[in-house]
């Protein structure tokens, strides 16, 4: 029963702050932090129990929510290694970010509102993780969309923020369009929403391959929206309009990873479906990973660079699911949650100090912001995948899986992404913290409530990868126990892959170093030389442009305009007011017979009588 508290506490906190303690800033933040902390301490023993005995039976509990003949929807929880891991990540990172927010948001007028939204987010995110059926995951899926909307639009007076919030919600909705249809397909074929029952039916072969293909691709649409995969990635960079802790918590560590989590959750379906399903997933992931890494090169806003790197990482995870290793995807998700949250929080700390997002207005910050700089560098090394930081192990798992899968295009994309990541992360570190001083004022280190979470996250970002060392047993993969669902399952540590990726990353770092530190390669010259491609990157491959100016302006608005034209002119004016006009004019014509002269009427009457008599006489 205490598992329900995971949902009740954050929800209660959100409601309490909204309705009661709105005006008491500190109290609100304590309630919110207390709720998430309590969740963490509920999750911790369960997590430890599962770590101690990975093959513990999963726990499931539920109650009837909607029940009509032919359809039963439950609200329930499913606790297995997968959800326990995710619960741990969400509550742990969530707690740290709540604490960080206390410092970061301290003088914001919407302080209480911010914490209410954070609690709402934790509630919805835990709902996704706990969900034991498709409808429930969809419900909380939408609710995280809502909390994301509220948090991106937190500074609602800023037009950019309110636009970004709207965009995030709507783009996610497009993904959910497929998700909802996918749920319908699965329900139509299996008659249930429950994951374990669907899995049972899949294993028993009750579902036809075509149904499974359609179902998995449609469900994947949901992940494309939420995990910001190409072509629905456009909302994530804009989402950086929200406060930085939000970017860290929602748009890097947890919510965007929900798509990957969901794919892992339904991996039994994906891997049982015809291989076309996983191929589509893998290529979507690869395109996103590579494209976003390229785009990150062209950005100069510290948060945007990290945002694009997040896109790229998400592409990695999705690709990993696609090449048959949901385990590797989840592993990357875990390490990514720590180092990406760390990077964002560091960025927040930098922004807090410099009051700007533009890295060209920073530089030489490392002596001023010692803790921030150190943790940022550690996070970046993890992100780039340098041995032995956490990112190395998780990235290596994915690359090995891609290698084992045999599709060298995917493997190549992965390696190339690692190379580019090396370049832009090096650039970010060097331009922000070293080189010439370009900042104004006197930046100083953030308060302890902000730096302590940084340090804790940095420790995890460095060491958490060690749990996934392939030769260890039990290790991450055996803990998660998703192997049964995968085809090219057992791929051990591949020395070729590890060495080649390390070489590539160092090549990237060196190029970045030569360009942005020593100046051996002149960035301006490079820019002049590759003007065209650079333009393309700056404008994000013109994808946003295409959506705004073609899909929305040309198609969507035109359909609406044409419909309104039909409505106003054809339906209302022609079909409805037209007959009314005819009748009115017929009436006007007949009115002329009403002369008001009594004798006229009498005359008509008598004539009528006479005519009737004549007719009668004749027949």
């Amino acid at each position: 029963m205490y598992i329900w508290a995971l949902l009740i506490l954050p929800l209660f906190s959100a409601v309490l702050i909204t309705l009661v303690t709105r005006r008491h800033k500190d109290l609100s933040s304590y309630i919110s932090i207390g709720a998430v902390l309590a969740c963490f301490f509920i999750v911790l023993p369960i997590f430890l129990r599962f770590v101690g005995a990975p093959h513990t039976e999963h726990l499931e509990g539920s109650f009837r929510w909607i029940g009509v003949p032919g359809m039963l929807v439950e609200i329930g929880y499913l606790i297995d290694p997968l959800s326990v891991l995710m619960l741990f990540i969400v509550t742990f990172v969530g707690t740290l970010i709540h604490i960080y927010s206390r410092g970061y948001m301290h003088d914001d007028p919407g302080y209480s509102r911010f914490f209410a939204c954070l609690s709402l987010f934790i509630f919805s995110m835990l709902g996704i993780v706990l969900a034991n059926n498709l409808i429930m995951i969809y419900i909380f899926w939408e609710l995280v969309g809502l909390s994301s909307y509220l948090l991106i639009g937190f500074y609602f007076e800023k037009p950019a923020a309110s636009d970004a919030a709207k965009k995030a919600f709507l783009v996610n909705r497009i993904g959910d369009f497929g998700f909802a249809l996918g749920i319908c397909v699965i329900f139509y074929a299996s008659g249930t929403f429950n994951f374990l029952e669907i899995a049972h039916q899949v294993h028993a072969g009750h579902l036809s391959p075509n149904t499974m293909l359609l179902g998995s691709l449609l469900l994947f649409c949901g992940a494309v929206g939420k995990s910001a995969q190409f072509p629905l990635h456009v909302w994530l960079p804009d989402a950086m309009e929200g406060p930085t802790p939000v970017s860290a918590l929602i748009h890097a560590a947890t919510m965007v990873a929900a798509g990957v989590y969901m794919l892992a959750r339904i991996s039994f379906l994906l891997y049982a479906a015809p291989p076309a399903a996983t191929t589509v997933i893998a290529y979507t992931g690869a395109i996103t990973a590579l494209g976003a890494a390229l785009l990150a090169l062209g950005q100069s806003d510290i948060k945007r660079v990290i945002a694009f790197s997040t896109l790229s990482s998400l592409g990695y995870m999705v690709m990993s699911v696609g090449v048959g290793s949901a385990t590797a995807g989840m592993f990357y998700l875990m390490t990514h949650a720590f180092f990406k949250a760390l990077l964002f929080l560091c960025a927040g700390s930098v922004i807090h100090a410099c009051h700007t997002n533009d890295i060209w207005h920073m530089g030489a910050l490392s002596p001023k912001l010692k803790i921030t700089a150190t943790t940022f560098i550690l996070g970046s090394l993890a992100m780039m995948g340098v041995f032995p930081f956490s990112g190395f192990w998780s990235k290596d798992e994915i690359l090995s899986a891609a290698f084992a899968n045999g599709d060298m295009v995917l493997y190549g994309a992965g390696v190339l992404t690692a190379f580019i990541t090396g370049i832009f992360m090096t650039k970010l570190i060097l331009v922000t913290f070293f080189g010439k001083k370009r900042y104004h004022g006197s930046p100083h280190e953030s308060p302890p409530s902000m730096t302590i979470p940084l340090i804790i996250l940095a420790v995890f970002a460095v060491f958490v990868g060690l749990v996934g060392i392939p030769s260890l047993h039990p290790n991450f993969g055996s803990f998660l126990g998703l192997h049964g669902a995968e085809h090219g399952a057992e791929h051990g540590f591949n020395m070729t892959v590890a060495i080649s990726s390390t070489i590539v990353v160092f090549a990237g770092i060196i190029i970045g170093f030569l360009t942005y530190y020593t100046g051996t390669i002149d960035p301006d010259k490079m820019y002049k030389r590759f003007r065209g491609p650079y333009r393309l990157l700056e404008n994000r491959f013109y994808i946003d442009h295409f959506y705004d100016n073609f899909i929305v302006a040309k198609i969507y608005n035109q359909v609406a305009r044409i419909s309104t034209f039909i409505e106003v002119n054809i339906i209302i004016h022609f079909c409805i007011n037209g007959p009314a006009y005819l009748i009115r004019h017929a009436g006007l014509f007949l009115r002329s017979t009403i002369t008001g002269g009594v004798q006229h009427y009498t005359f008509f009457m008598v004539t009528g009588v006479v005519v009737l008599i004549i007719v009668y006489a004749l027949t």
Partner: protein, 100 residues
């Protein structure tokens, strides 16, 4: 021998004169009188039928009619006086307020 036909012809003639009067004359008083003529033509035919068919109902209706006609004339003249007071005219072609 005066037969039913004679009475009916008389009634028809009176009726036609009455209708013509209503249609042609502009003075409302004359029109009212013409209407009385129509009434009475009907009364004549009713009385004649009553006599020749040996049924009392016709006579009864005639008596009703005369009573009603009296009441009607009274109301009609009253309206007429009221209209005259207001409009200072008794000619129907000037009383066309109900025109569209």
């Amino acid at each position: 021998m005066v037969t039913l036909t004679h009475y009916l012809i008389l009634s028809f003639l009176l009726f036609s004169i009455g209708v013509a009067g209503v249609l042609i004359r502009r003075n409302i008083i004359i029109m009212l009188m013409s209407m009385e003529l129509i009434f009475n033509s009907v009364n004549i035919s009713l009385a004649a039928f009553s006599y020749y068919l040996h049924s009392l109902s016709g006579t009864i209706i005639v008596i009703f009619n005369i009573t009603i006609a009296a009441a009607e004339v009274a109301i009609g003249l009253a309206i007429l006086v009221a209209v005259y007071r207001r409009r200072k005219t008794v000619y129907v072609d000037e009383l066309n307020k109900l025109r569209y």
